[in-house]
Assembly symmetry: C2
Amino acid sequence: MKALQDKIRQEGIVLSDTVLKVDSFLNHQVDPQLMYEIGLTFAAAYADAGVTKVLTLESSGIAPAVMTALALKVPLVFARKQKSLTLRDDLYIEQVYSFTKQVASEVAISRKFLSPGEKVLIIDDFLAYGEAAFGMARIVEAAGASVAGIGIVIEKSFQEGASKLREAGYRVDSLARITALSPEGIAFAE
Amino acid sequence: MKALQDKIRQEGIVLSDTVLKVDSFLNHQVDPQLMYEIGLTFAAAYADAGVTKVLTLESSGIAPAVMTALALKVPLVFARKQKSLTLRDDLYIEQVYSFTKQVASEVAISRKFLSPGEKVLIIDDFLAYGEAAFGMARIVEAAGASVAGIGIVIEKSFQEGASKLREAGYRVDSLARITALSPEGIAFAE
């Protein structure tokens, strides 16, 4: 997606060879028009996939995911991250480890909002090691629903998440695929 | 806003005389078309207010706020809630107390994304005691910016937040104003 690549080139800040900061348009400040175009792009890619629900993880996934859900005319559910949960009976819960923060979180969705037979499009802002995407996929499958695909705004292709997800049989669509980060610049696939 | 009142009547769950659960369309599952209409409604109300930025608080404020920002053609910034922050130099930070959770959080915004002279529309999903709205307003003013107004999806008018904010001189626009919650039903203002 060219508008996204351009934005990353203009505003992305390379903090190290693995960390890219995009808090001016995605993670903290948000460019709503770009999110709208991202939503249209994911919706076009999944127009014939029979998607019944979009799923993301709070907080940074919500803006691109709600635009995708708007374009697909289906509800969005955002999973909640919590350190530990006391009321668990009515929730699907999975552990997700963050390599960036080096902490495991529980990710939870109310059982009310995911039903057997649903086709779920998972949306997330970043894909690195794939922990969050795998966690959401396990929740979808625990509910007896299926994963239509995984839509990623920015894939760090030099980390293993995308290849692991594809090896596990998931369709992965990333709008920007970064192959290398360096002080000299950001390299994209294709 | 009639579509919102109807949705609250149809899907809102009254848990007590102070607690209304709307997790089927706003707080956990999200109705994107309703969020879009909410965005258009806030944008129409503030069309002539010179708004330069929309501000909300993660996570439940993001969906209505990003739609408002889209309609106003301005950026969104979402403040982050954190228990305690170590890197503080480049942040505006305010304490916000949650009466619901009985816990104080720090709410933070990067100094990069709020500049003197900006006119900020604050959006939040709920208004009860006004703690989150006052916290965001203090951040806006600490940055030398001004609060154009406070747009609330659901105001619990029987709690003191709305009147305190208005007494403090803020413009408050609430799309649904609830005057009473009971097992028999939900009463709206007007």
